[in-house]
């Protein structure tokens, strides 16, 4: 009866279902295609968008752990993103510590911040938790704006000199977007793997039990505060990592940019629109929203990769009427999803697939009555 807690948390390896191998095969093909992509398309716009997309997948997967599995709708994930971004940036600018070490320090800091925030906010439930999570991120934002001596206030930090990484007998320039493309691609795969492990481990079942009914889970011996904190720590670690990398990719950070409520909302929307509590959901959500947002923000980039010509009516229309309003599209999408497809796009796909399967199954008994 006395099993150690560590033993209970080890993932129980799943028995693969029939279509798992097909899924893995498709996934592998996609990954290989994405890995070759920068060699074929050398335009920085496309590479940059790829890196932003992978970062969004990391953040979406991170939020999924706490929001999707543990059911705690944090709208304050900017706190962890900002913790990662500022740690990495300040270590580089003030202590000359290279970012490939700094991001791990940022990750640790993100987890520490999550433990503090978790202790404060997990005593609250439902809407009160949402409000508390927002205000924690806002306190950090105002704090970073206020304590100018330490944080340079609203001005923020800019990378002044980016070191070169020498490893495996090669030199990687952190000014080259391709370095970020590959780094974020690998980390996005790691984030997906983390979600997969969480979903299929006992830890994940505890999270889901808390999501479904916290009091019932508690009465069955699951310590809600402990497991919610664990979910938040995993989530914060990945989010802080994304923050550190994005700070290095964009090379400039400000409190409003990395601690802003827009960022927290955007992460939640990626998951909601894709499908909450699923592994593919955040991937679909990010794959839909990020290119759309980048396209609306800078339609000339499409011309750069040769999809449309720079003086076409399409580019001119977007520049004249829709630039700076990518959030409008987010807003419309989230309203449509909540009203008509609360399970997200993945939910819609699954429903259609199930209907097709049923139709195929119901077609058979007509030919073979014994089959029913």
């Amino acid at each position: 009866v006395n099993r150690s807690p560590a033993m209970r948390l080890l993932p129980t390896l799943p028995r693969p279902r029939g279509n798992v191998w097909i899924g893995l095969l498709v996934g592998a093909v996609v990954v290989v295609a994405l890995a070759i992509f920068p060699q074929l398309v050398k335009k920085p716009y496309a590479i940059n968008m790829g890196a932003m997309l992978f970062l969004a997948i990391i953040m979406g997967q991170a939020w999924n752990v706490i929001g999707g599995y543990a059911g705690q709708y944090s709208v304050g994930h900017a706190a962890y993103f900002g913790a990662g971004a500022y740690t990495t940036m300040m270590l580089l600018e003030l202590n000359q510590i290279a970012p490939w070490w700094g991001i791990w320090a940022g990750m640790v800091n993100g987890v520490l911040v999550s433990l503090v925030i978790g202790t404060i906010t997990f005593r609250l439930r439902g809407p009160y938790f949402v409000l508390a999570s927002i205000s924690m991120a806002e306190i950090l934002r105002y704090g970073f704006l206020y304590f100018r001596n330490a944080t340079k206030g609203a001005e923020g930090f800019v990378v002044s000199k980016m070191p070169k990484l020498e490893a495996f007998g090669a030199t990687f320039s952190l000014l080259d977007k391709r370095t970020f493309y590959y780094a974020t691609l690998v980390l996005a795969l790691v984030a997906i793997l983390v979600n997969w492990l969480v979903q299929r481990s006992k830890l994940g079942y505890y999270f889901q039990a808390i999501r479904e009914d916290q009091d019932a889970a508690h009465s069955l011996g699951i310590n809600p505060t402990f497991y919610k904190s664990a979910a938040l720590a995993i989530s914060a670690a990945l989010t802080a990592l994304a923050g550190g990398i994005q700070a290095m990719l964009l090379k400039v950070i400000t409190p409003d940019g990395v601690f802003g409520i827009d960022l927290s909302v955007q992460v939640v929307l990626i998951c909601i629109i894709g499908g909450i509590g699923t592994i593919l959901g955040p991937v679909i959500g990010a794959a839909l929203l990020i290119p759309l947002a980048e396209m609306l923000r800078n339609p000339r980039g499409l011309a750069q990769i040769g999809l449309v010509s720079a003086d076409s009516g399409f580019v001119q229309f977007i520049e004249a009427h829709l630039s700076n309003a990518h959030l409008l599209v987010y807003g419309i999408l989230v309203v449509i999803v909540i009203l008509f497809a609360p399970d997200g796009i993945l939910g819609v796909i699954r429903r259609i697939a199930a209907r097709l399967r049923r139709r195929r199954a119901s077609g058979q008994p007509a030919a073979n009555p014994a089959g029913a």
């Binding site: 709708y73 709208v75 404060i120 005593r123 609250l124 439930r125 439902g126 809407p127 009160y128 949402v130 409000l131 508390a132 927002i134 205000s135 924690m136 806002e138 306190i139 105002y142 704090g143 704006l145 206020y146 409520i261 909302v265 939640v268 929307l269 909601i272 009427h321 829709l322 700076n324 309003a325 959030l327 409008l328 987010y330 807003g331 419309i332 999408l333 989230v334 309203v335 909540i338 009203l339 609360p342």
Partner: protein
């Protein structure tokens, strides 16, 4: 004396904050929905007021309607807009997960702020050249009361806010419709069994709530500037006010508004950069030690 002055200034600003809080708490009380688009409704009120003052947008450049008069236009406009939002969107998710309700209102807020951004750009809008009849600058004129110097604009805004609050109290307490709204807030199912049309009460409440937010926007524009994302500033402030007073309690929201106004004003005496931090710290402390708010019942 400086202390008294700061408290008084805080109370004047707090009166307008109370309007924001009362709208949000009314919506929460009746629908049990936290309206994350409340700040955006306030922003719309600001823009309507600015349009009526500036006039060029509607082809009447000579208009220069005073924001205090604009309230009379803002109230019906925002009421209709709020009722529309409730009827078309919010009514459909009343039985959905609270998270989905929150996200729906966030989405509606994004649509409102970005539609305004598209139409009016991100420029800051203020009431440029708003002069009193004798040609003096409205926004900076003051008057003396018992040795304290008070801003004229803030005092008039406060009086308007008080008048509207009192009218709302009377409506909720004295009229049949007001009682029906309060009954719906108390127990939705029981109210329905008593023959109250709860959907209609919801539409009415959301309309009143957004009219109050719009009015607060009109009054805020007298001393503040409007821009498309200004809503998020007031969203957070509205949450603080409502949680301080206790979600769903109208008297609590009135108190919460005044309390936030005074806290901001007093912190501003020390260091205006600390205002928000102190207000949020107060908010968190309250969430932790008395999540039901000063006057609310426990709803953890």
């Amino acid at each position: 004396m400086a202390f008294l002055q700061a408290v008084l200034n805080g109370i004047l600003v707090g009166g307008v904050y109370a309007l924001i809080g009362i709208g949000l708490t009314l919506i929460f009380g009746v629908m049990r929905v936290i309206n994350f688009a409340h700040g955006e409704l306030l922003m719309l009120g600001m823009y309507v007021t600015w349009i009526l003052f500036d006039g060029t947008v509607i082809g009447l450049p000579w208009l220069h309607l005073s924001p205090f008069m604009a309230v009379l236009v803002v109230i019906p406009l925002l009421f209709l807009w709020g009722a529309f939002l409730q009827k078309v969107f919010i009514n459909r998710v009343l039985n959905a997960l609270p998270q989905n309700q929150i996200l729906l209102t966030i989405g509606l807020g994004l649509i409102m702020s970005n539609a305004v951004l598209l139409r009016f750009t991100a420029d800051y809008r203020i009431l440029t050249g708003w002069k009193a009849a004798d040609g003096s600058d409205w926004a900076s004129s003051t008057f003396e009361l018992l040795g304290l110097s008070l801003s004229k604009v803030n005092s008039i805004s406060f009086l308007i806010a008080v008048a509207i609050t009192v009218a709302l109290y009377l409506f909720l307490i004295k009229t049949d419709t007001g009682q029906a709204i309060r009954a719906t807030a108390q127990d939705r199912d029981a109210a329905q069994l008593m023959g109250i049309n709860v959907k209609r009460m919801s539409v009415l409440s959301f309309g009143i709530g957004s009219a109050l937010a719009g009015t607060a926007g009109a009054l805020t524009l007298t001393t503040y500037y409007a821009y498309p994302y200004v809503g998020s500033v007031f969203n957070l402030k509205a949450f603080v006010i409502v949680v301080l007073g206790g979600m769903g309690s109208i008297i609590g929201a009135t108190l919460g508004g005044i309390l936030v106004g005074v806290t901001e004003s007093l912190t501003g005496m020390v260091d205006s950069g600390l205002k928000e931090i102190v207000v949020f710290a107060l908010f968190l402390a309250l969430l932790l030690f008395k999540p039901s708010g000063l006057l609310g019942k426990s709803r953890m």
